[in-house]
């Protein structure tokens, strides 16, 4: 069946071994005029090398300050079906597990109410329904809540949809229950998620271990990363089995064949802290020097496991470049136990938010506020004690703001006495 718009350029994207979104959408187009016009606008963009979407106005559902991104086409004359093309962000279930049942319901819900196109998932983690009109929003929200038991995600200057790695659900290295943490925070802070109250957006992400499979350290204002503070568990027999070539090193990540494994070359010498020793029979780890980089564990997963006194390292301030340049998260709590109901952690979160709301400028991410007002102020406001683990290195400039409380007489000089000692 011929489509409304010829798309010679994007048709090129049907070729090749990787799944083609063009083929997918073309398959939809006969049933959905939005898809048809969307193919048309894409083709136009491919021709002109310019996008054709305008800024969104304020669209949303009643009582929510976020979750919908308004979007309008700048050529409604050519593509009337997508003149309005708003996005709906749905808070994904933690770690993105689904039954086919709920997915089919979602498809059934979306089919009549929008383009039928989605992003599985958005960069923040939401289910993204791509392209609908304002009048569809309220019914869609109604069905979403009633029939799927789901809710909108975040947008605007609010807490954004938190996201975690799959953690304990399928990973042997998880040191914290990422799913429960993410779910608990999401539920506890529904108001912050749905009603913008912050200077700018705020993102939580949680990874179960330092591998950081949800990239928390790069893109969350508050990163919760599992770790342990006791000893790596060693099964010496399995270590010997790796050495003997009986087990596949690196769980097959570097090739699935069993192979001779030189523990010295591939583990001991690579350990960043050089805190390991292998005498051909036994592996010894000086855990007090280990920085929990996961390398030895990930290359010999059947022999080594994280310790059992587990908890999280909390880091804050990651963000993309706008305005002050990109930041990664920085350690502010080297270790915290993370057991429900996470009270100690939530107290920290609330102190952090209070400080940020009081001091942050409009459109200033937490990391930027800390940059501007100093990490010292942040620690003070959140009742945290300075710790060398918070820095890669102490300062190397001598521009120290000494506390006047610690100086005899504070900032005051006795000018007269000074001039008695020293003639001008």
């Amino acid at each position: 069946m011929a489509l409304k718009h010829a798309t010679p350029l994007i048709d090129e994207l049907e070729k090749g071994p990787w799944p083609s979104f063009v083929s997918d959408v073309k398959r939809m187009a006969p049933k959905n005029p939005m898809c048809e016009d969307w193919l048309g606008v894409m083709e136009l963009s491919y021709k002109e090398k310019e996008g054709h979407w305008k800024h969104g106005g304020i669209v949303g559902v009643l009582g929510y300050g976020g979750g919908i991104i308004g979007r309008y086409c700048d050529r409604p004359d050519l593509f009337p079906a997508i003149a309005h093309f708003h996005t709906v962000r749905i808070n994904q279930p933690a770690s993105k597990y689904y039954t086919t049942e709920v997915l089919r319901k979602l498809c059934d819900l979306w089919e009549p109410r929008g383009s039928g196109l989605t992003n599985m998932h958005g960069s923040t983690g939401d289910i993204v329904l791509l392209g609908t009109t304002t009048d569809n929003l309220e019914p869609l929200f109604y069905e979403l809540t009633h029939e799927l038991g789901m809710d909108l995600g975040g947008s605007g200057s609010n807490m954004r949809t938190p996201e975690g790695c799959l953690g304990m659900s399928r990973c042997e290295w998880a040191c914290i229950n990422t799913q429960d943490i993410i779910y608990d925070l999401t539920m506890e802070y529904q108001d912050a998620l749905h009603r913008p109250m912050f200077p700018y957006k705020f993102k939580f992400k949680s990874s179960g271990c330092p591998c950081d499979c949800v990239a928390a350290i790069a893109r969350s204002d508050c990163s919760i990363i599992g770790t342990w503070r006791d000893k790596i568990r060693i099964d010496q027999e399995s270590v010997r089995a790796y050495a003997a070539g009986e087990l596949t090193p690196h769980a097959g990540a570097g090739g699935t064949e069993k192979r001779k494994f030189d523990i010295n070359a591939e583990v001991i010498n690579l350990c960043p802290t050089k805190c390991m020793e292998w005498d051909g029979k036994n592996l010894k780890i000086w855990d007090e020097d280990c920085t929990r980089c996961m390398h030895c564990i990930r290359v010999m997963p059947r022999a080594l496991r994280p310790g059992v006194d587990t908890g999280a390292t909390i880091l804050v301030g990651a963000k993309a470049p706008i305005l002050e340049g990109a930041q990664m998260s920085s350690v502010v709590i080297p270790f915290i136990k993370m057991e429900p109901p996470y009270e100690e952690f939530k107290e920290f979160v609330e102190k952090m938010w209070d400080w940020w709301m009081e001091n942050g400028k409009n459109r200033e991410r937490l990391g930027e506020t800390i940059q501007r007002l100093t990490l010292r102020e942040f620690l003070k406001a959140t009742d945290l004690t300075p710790d060398p683990r918070m820095v890669n290195t102490p300062r190397f400039n001598p521009y120290i703001f000494y506390d006047p409380a610690e100086v005899p007489g504070g900032w005051e000089h006795d000018a007269a006495a000074f001039r008695q000692r020293h003639q001008a």
Partner: protein, 366 residues
């Protein structure tokens, strides 16, 4: 009760949040939650996780476009119903994972997936190039300098051999963001594809005072290039083009300052970033190529440059070395030599922390 457009408050449910996380867990996950003991990759794309209880969970990971239709989702559901008791998940990089509890269904699932053309490629595990994290591009956003999905498709087609194999020194994470907002968080990726503008915005003075809040626009500029200015009777702004580095933040705040331009826009490539704390600590991506023109529909120059970088890394990287570790070992001078890329003034940082990037040692390679 059904939805009543005239009575939005009727029966309204709000703030229920997402379904509880374990609601969609397959039974084997429920039973073995927190008890997993080890895993193994059986072949690229196929994992087994073994529990302390002895239970074994098989996972088959397939690459997917991130922009997918409900038709595609339904097709995936059919497969999950047939082989996985109806359970599946998406990964943090937008791949789909079929969760197989019944080992006898593993090979049939794999065979079925392989039989369906280019829809469901298996791979993305271990030392592969997995799915490219990306953003909207021309598909939906108002600030892009490039498309997203199309560039990703073109790149993945070319790198496809690395998706379904484990032949790289380590995992390679590629990300794309269509503008400097970097929704793809590309700033810590092994290879990052970034849409860039190269012309300062032009100012539609007749619209500014109607559609923009001038103080917010002024504050939005990282380099303080924008000042309020009266143009005739109109309240507007002026831009010091010399200070503009084309970030588009002012345009985000004010639609009367377009900066997109078919000939001006294009792609910058970045390399050597990472997120994990494994061996080395997280690293930012660093500029490799300041500008490649937009070449829709298949972006050949971008694709080939990435391929070249990957191939040099594949040839020169040592086992476990991420791209950034490899470059740190051989040195940037060698990186540019080996890849044939040109080092230009754009590579030398001139923003706020620039000084920290200069070479303050005689240690380098000739």
């Amino acid at each position: 009760m059904a939805f009543d457009p005239n009575n939005l408050m009727q029966d309204r449910i709000t703030d229920i949040g997402p379904p509880k996380y374990d609601k969609f867990f397959p039974p084997i996950v429920k039973d073995n939650f927190g008890k997993w003991k080890y895993h193994e990759i059986l072949e690229p794309g196929v994992l087994v996780h073994v529990s302390e209880t002895g239970a074994e969970l098989y996972t088959v990971r397939i690459g997917a476009a991130r922009l997918i239709s409900i038709d595609l989702i339904r097709e995936v559901c059919d497969l999950a119903d047939k082989y996985c008791g109806g359970y599946l998940r998406w990964t943090t990089r937008n791949n789909i994972e079929f969760l197989v509890s019944d080992k006898s269904k593993l090979q049939p699932l794999i065979d079925d997936l392989r039989s369906r053309g280019n829809w469901f490629p298996i791979g993305g595990t271990g030392n592969s190039i997995t799915n490219i994290v990306h953003t909207q591009g021309w598909a939906h956003c108002h600030t892009p300098a490039i498309d997203a999905s199309g560039v990703v498709k073109a790149v993945m087609d070319e790198l496809f051999e690395y998706f379904g194999s484990h032949k790289l020194p380590a995992q390679v994470r590629i990300a794309l963001a269509c503008c400097l907002n970097m929704c793809g968080a590309v700033h810590c990726s092994d290879i990052a594809i970034l849409g860039v503008h190269r012309k300062p915005p032009f100012i539609e003075h007749d619209r500014v005072q109607n559609v923009c809040e001038i103080p917010l626009v002024v504050a939005a500029c990282p380099t303080a290039a924008i000042k309020p200015k009266k143009v005739g009777e109109l309240k507007s702004i002026e831009i010091n083009n010399n200070r503009c580095m084309f970030c588009g933040n002012c345009y985000t705040m004010c639609p009367a300052l377009p900066l997109a331009d078919g000939e001006g826009d294009g792609i910058a490539l970045w390399v050597g970033g990472k997120v994990s704390n494994v061996l080395s600590t997280p690293m930012f991506s660093k500029l490799a190529v300041p500008y490649i023109p937009n070449e829709p529909p298949r972006w050949p120059a971008t694709v080939n440059t990435i391929k070249k970088i990957v191939e040099e890394y594949a040839a020169g990287g040592r086992r476990y070395e991420r791209v950034g570790d490899w470059i740190n070992r051989i040195g940037w001078e060698r990186f540019f030599e080996k890849t044939g890329l040109q080092f230009q003034h754009e590579h030398i940082d001139d923003y706020r922390l620039a000084m920290m990037t200069w070479r303050t040692t005689t240690q380098f390679k000739f």
